[in-house]
């Protein structure tokens, strides 16, 4: 039996193509037969992916979801940042430049509001939950932005490792919530046009969450949301350990 596992591992990426193909096919089937196309197949497929990640992570105790199980290790390459970003960039093909220019300013404003508001919220929650030092409060607030901003900020200002772990978890919760929640709330917040998608991407950040959430809502909106969301983590890494950290320090003294 060993040689089968070896074969699967050796051809990891191709195995991932086959496996994801089967997941997408079953998701489309479920969408058509169980929900009469009310829930898009892509939304079901992404949700199934998350469930499989949970199962894989629980069975192996690893941090990479299903990719921790050897035969599925190719999923890490297929779903990793390189191919993800490459595919996101390709969606810009056919984007209307007029919309981007017209909504550009609103997108930038929503980015700043998104980072500052999310940070403030996270910081207040950290304070209410018993953290009293500026370093921990700032790191949790940064983690509420994305799971990259949290550890980058924590490392920059010297937070303890359990606080950093908490901040990563907060960012992960956010990313998964945005992934699952976007198609559910899209109708109620008017998320059906490129301009709103750009504002949505700016306010929520979390490139993976926004990209997956919009893909499940309406794939045509993905490039617009991803375009602003991609600046969010950078802006967060810029503001959290500097201006926002100093503000927290001032407020606590």
């Amino acid at each position: 039996m060993d040689y089968i596992t070896t074969l699967l591992v050796k051809n990891g990426l191709i195995v991932a193509f086959l496996f994801i193909g089967l997941v997408c096919y079953s998701a489309d089937w479920l969408s058509a037969h169980l929900t009469r196309n009310k829930l898009p197949g892509s939304a079901i497929a992404i949700f199934v992916g998350l469930v499989l990640a949970y199962v894989g992570g629980t069975l192996t105790g690893g941090n990479k979801g299903l990719a921790d199980s050897k035969p599925f290790s190719g999923l890490e390459l297929m779903g990793g940042p390189m191919l993800r970003d490459f595919a996101i960039v390709s969606t810009a093909m056919g984007v209307s430049f007029g919309v981007v220019r017209k909504t550009g300013l609103a997108g930038v404003i929503s980015l700043f509001i998104g980072v500052v508001l999310t940070f403030t919220c996270g910081a207040i929650i950290a304070r209410c939950m018993g953290y009293t030092d500026a370093r921990s409060i700032t790191t949790i607030g940064a983690g509420a932005c994305t799971f990259v901003v949290g550890p980058v900020t924590g490392a920059a200002i010297g937070a303890s490792s359990d606080v950093i772990a908490n901040s990563i978890a907060a960012g992960l919760v956010k990313s998964i919530l945005v992934t699952i929640g976007t198609p559910l709330v899209a109708r109620y917040i008017g998320l059906n046009n490129p301009a709103t998608a750009m504002i949505f991407g700016g306010l929520l950040g979390s490139t993976s969450g926004v990209a997956a959430g919009l893909a499940a809502t309406d794939p045509k909106l993905v490039p617009y949301g991803a375009m602003t969301a991609t600046f969010y983590t950078g802006l967060g890494c810029l503001l959290c350990p500097s201006v926002l950290y100093l503000l927290v320090k001032l407020l606590i003294m």
Binding site: G65, G79, A169, A226
Partner: protein, 121 residues
């Protein structure tokens, strides 16, 4: 011809990532600032430029469109390698800090979208 499209996409991707990485270094943070966004803008410009010169033939475009239809499968793969175990079993504080700001920001989307519409009209 098809592969010229793939190469064009790859060129925009690398140039954009390089720009984002350089920008991150210039402002002294250890992160890529908007690399994907820059790459997307480059691709939009390139596409415009080719269209105006009538060089954008369907075969070249299909090299790029292939990747954009690979997008959802890639996202499904991405979700299957997330650290869901930690997110689900994380403490109460991570849960609150992850959920509440998202709810507030989502509620703000229609407000901002409306005011953006007003200013452009």
């Amino acid at each position: 011809m098809l592969f010229r499209g793939v190469a064009l996409l790859a060129g925009c991707f690398i140039a954009g990532q390089l720009l984002g990485e350089t920008l991150g270094r210039l402002i002294h943070i250890d992160a890529n600032v908007g690399g994907v966004g820059f790459a997307m803008l480059l691709l939009i410009f390139a596409q415009n430029w080719l269209e105006r010169r009538n060089l954008l033939n369907p075969q070249l475009a299909s090299g790029i469109l292939f990747w954009s239809s690979m997008y959802i499968p890639v996202i499904v793969a991405m979700s299957s390698v997330q650290n869901v175990r930690v997110a689900v079993s994380s403490g109460f504080i991570a849960l609150l800090a992850g959920v509440i700001p998202v709810l507030i920001c989502v509620a703000l989307v229609p407000v901002l979208a409306k005011s953006a519409q007003k200013t452009t009209l």
